[in-house]
Subunit: 297 residues, 4 copies
Amino acid sequence: MAPDDVLALHESLTNWGRWGDDDQLGALNLITPEVTAAAAATVRVGRTVSCARPLNTVAAADNPSPVAHHMIGTATEGFGADYFAIAPHGFATSHIDALCHIFHEGKIYNGYPAEAVTAHGATRLGIHHLQDGIVTRGVLLDIPALRDVEALEPGEAVFPEDLEAAEERAGLQVCAGDALLVRTGRWHWRAEHGPWDATNLAAGLDASCLPWLRDRDVATLGSDGVSDVLPSRVEGVVMPIHTVVIAAMGVHLMDNLDLDALADACAEERRWEFLFTVAPLVLRRGTASPVNPIAVF
Amino acid sequence: MAPDDVLALHESLTNWGRWGDDDQLGALNLITPEVTAAAAATVRVGRTVSCARPLNTVAAADNPSPVAHHMIGTATEGFGADYFAIAPHGFATSHIDALCHIFHEGKIYNGYPAEAVTAHGATRLGIHHLQDGIVTRGVLLDIPALRDVEALEPGEAVFPEDLEAAEERAGLQVCAGDALLVRTGRWHWRAEHGPWDATNLAAGLDASCLPWLRDRDVATLGSDGVSDVLPSRVEGVVMPIHTVVIAAMGVHLMDNLDLDALADACAEERRWEFLFTVAPLVLRRGTASPVNPIAVF
Amino acid sequence: MAPDDVLALHESLTNWGRWGDDDQLGALNLITPEVTAAAAATVRVGRTVSCARPLNTVAAADNPSPVAHHMIGTATEGFGADYFAIAPHGFATSHIDALCHIFHEGKIYNGYPAEAVTAHGATRLGIHHLQDGIVTRGVLLDIPALRDVEALEPGEAVFPEDLEAAEERAGLQVCAGDALLVRTGRWHWRAEHGPWDATNLAAGLDASCLPWLRDRDVATLGSDGVSDVLPSRVEGVVMPIHTVVIAAMGVHLMDNLDLDALADACAEERRWEFLFTVAPLVLRRGTASPVNPIAVF
Amino acid sequence: MAPDDVLALHESLTNWGRWGDDDQLGALNLITPEVTAAAAATVRVGRTVSCARPLNTVAAADNPSPVAHHMIGTATEGFGADYFAIAPHGFATSHIDALCHIFHEGKIYNGYPAEAVTAHGATRLGIHHLQDGIVTRGVLLDIPALRDVEALEPGEAVFPEDLEAAEERAGLQVCAGDALLVRTGRWHWRAEHGPWDATNLAAGLDASCLPWLRDRDVATLGSDGVSDVLPSRVEGVVMPIHTVVIAAMGVHLMDNLDLDALADACAEERRWEFLFTVAPLVLRRGTASPVNPIAVF
């Protein structure tokens, strides 16, 4: 894809104004009460599965700003208490990006000026707008399973036809309001080969998936990588999925999830849909939150 | 109640060993897959409600260690990014206590030695054991509504007969595996009167509620205060609810929730039960996590 | 003084360009090697005195963002280690402001644009330029001693004639390159009356002192308050000393020092001059550093 | 050297009780006012030189817990302000160890129990006892210059005869109360070869230097490494210099200094002695402080 094509997609796939000039939620508006209730109705066996990596306190090639975790109370003090400090956008942290995270030509989603994002936080599109959480149907598309490998290679791209083949394999179709989770097998690869610079090399979606994502009207998109394939295959555009999905489509991205246990559960339950819940911390004017999304079968 | 009575309750209400010598989950074991599935089946209208206060970055009488929130990227840098630092046990923070939080006579829940809680974190009963989340039926007992006031007075106690009257008013009974939420109206009071030293003065449960809680076999207990009435009405025992519920019964406490919106929703829906989800951050060896519990009607 | 007068002082007292277009040090250029050597030659008895308050970890009216201090290693781990987090500009912290701290009409000292101060730090006038430290003659002007009181009242102003009377009392004159310390007795007052909102009410210099400070060519100015009297007595200008001294004159300010022990030492030694050393942490692109200035008699 | 020899040195070189049962300063007691005054009298030209590395915010093999540095105010907010978080004992940070840092057989310097170091900080031997700073004669022994190399190899040991040869080369002798600085050329090596795991491989003093250090009665010891050669050449004793110097002798260690500019200045001034000042932050109960020691010629 050429850089100009990405620019054109910003125009053609935009959701600016779709939910009003004051909208702070973007595609989460697609999760109507009906969608939420229908998602809850999919629960059958009551099995819950985390989609988060543990917070990582150890510096590594993919974790240059480790979480600081320190104790306030221990055996000596007579109670257990602690403290932690985190920069949630790190490439080793399971987090959800607020819509204020990505700028495009001086603007953020819905046309608000980038200047809304100040050193005192984001006066528009902060993560606190997600206070009431995300509760919707989740769908896992397991690309390594589709390709019959343990994990995609770092840098390997996923295309729209893969998404459709994975849908078919799962016996379902991604619908408006769904939380779409795309597994690349990143953590399996890391366990085998060790950490690498995931800021520059990652399996993920090719930019050609963008119209498909907009067509299916996903409410939120998550991956065990950063959704983007890296390098991006679009010259001069580092993260076309990030920019178009967040800034144009108003879709919240969930990065660095761990979808391995979820893939196992889906295979065992023979179902790739589930109730999916995300409950961001209510950090006013924040640009992200670390999260522990839970799937319920 | 006399101090010796609390000691006796540690013995008589104990769950040590009930779920095995290696148990790390305590009363969350009561949330079987069947309980989870049944809770999901209670969802009717798809309305979601947060039970969390926003993280508080402003020092106050009830917030001596405010959350530090700082920006990494702003309009100038071309992206939004941030960082925060938090001591989750603070009295202004909605959080869930790990079972390693409270010691009793040199031990933590299930008889593990308090020495498991080191300056390198808790080697037993860390919050990361809750990785797969809490998904169960939630029940709200709204005590101010029961007493026909906006909020209990700080220091006002709640007794077992209040819990039963609130059950009756709600038309339900608290069952094994439930997440029990007891509202005192704290934040309404704070909005009217300003912050006060909530570490020493708070509405909450009298220690006489302990046998009732054990009898109903609640899986987790939350409040807009710290569950304990403060002062505790038991000489020499600062927080009898905390110590017996956590250390003896293995029940995870959720402190400083905001249950005002939930109370409104319950009243509007005419139902005081709902699907209740809590997804603690996966902080290995941590003693707590800030949380944003979500109720779904 | 009228607001326009402060504006005029920005013009008339400016040091922009005085030490070159690329200057990053401002009036610290006045501390030539000769000045440093002469200051060292004033040492007679070898007595050292700290001018810092202990870092304050307890929230208070004058300390809304307390220092976070947590342990990494304790008796249990076999070594002592710790961690702290600090916002050095706090009103309870002894610190030195970098020249990038204060803006005036879109510019910082020497005419650099305010845009140099980004969310990635200050690309101009960062505190790291003070890596080689400040070693010069210090002079204490003890205003409460002059007025024969224990401490000035919060909000009480100091005028040029006070500075000159204090010089006379001390038997010396402030010279080019000196570190000037003006004591108001703030901490004595706090010990007697408790903390107050020192961001809005503080003893300090009236704006009429500005020409005097420029005339004496002080290299750096410190106080047990923030140098400015608060409120400032200039309508619409919150901190005229801060703005003119830092942005126009390029003089580094040291705020919230503790000068009580120094005043005692001066009185005992019968000398109000001493060798004065400040060694800011080398925080690249930082806007300040907590410091522990040391006086040597 | 055998492990038992190190144990014997703990006994034979001890300073426990030498300055009283309540002593909190250890060998800093050797810096009498006379020593300080004499050190000031060595100043001739007024040249100042920092001995600190800039605080390092970038993770690396020798910096697994980088300093977090974030902005509070930028161009957008109208002022510059920031925040940083640091674990000062890191191997990339110039810091001074408090005497509570190292334990030996359950005790810290002067025989206090290790239990004094709690998760609420060190109730004995905290860094705040150094509030009035260190002002004494500094002496640089430049081992690479002695050996006519740019830098020692990581892991290369320095012996007592090297220290004496370096003294002779410098035309001086280390005396009671001196701050002794031993340069290994670490940062030159790092600039050439990149970072390495300096926690396990570093040039420094062989344990056989311990009696020499005690004999000369140094007040404080600093290095561009951690003073210890690593690996230590004593089986089972990771850091014999650290343990004996701190726990037995009560000598404060300064780790990870940058002595390259100081070596250049010494060579240019043809003097390896100077006034040396260290001003630790006044962190109550702290185990260390980041510092920027300043040498004055």
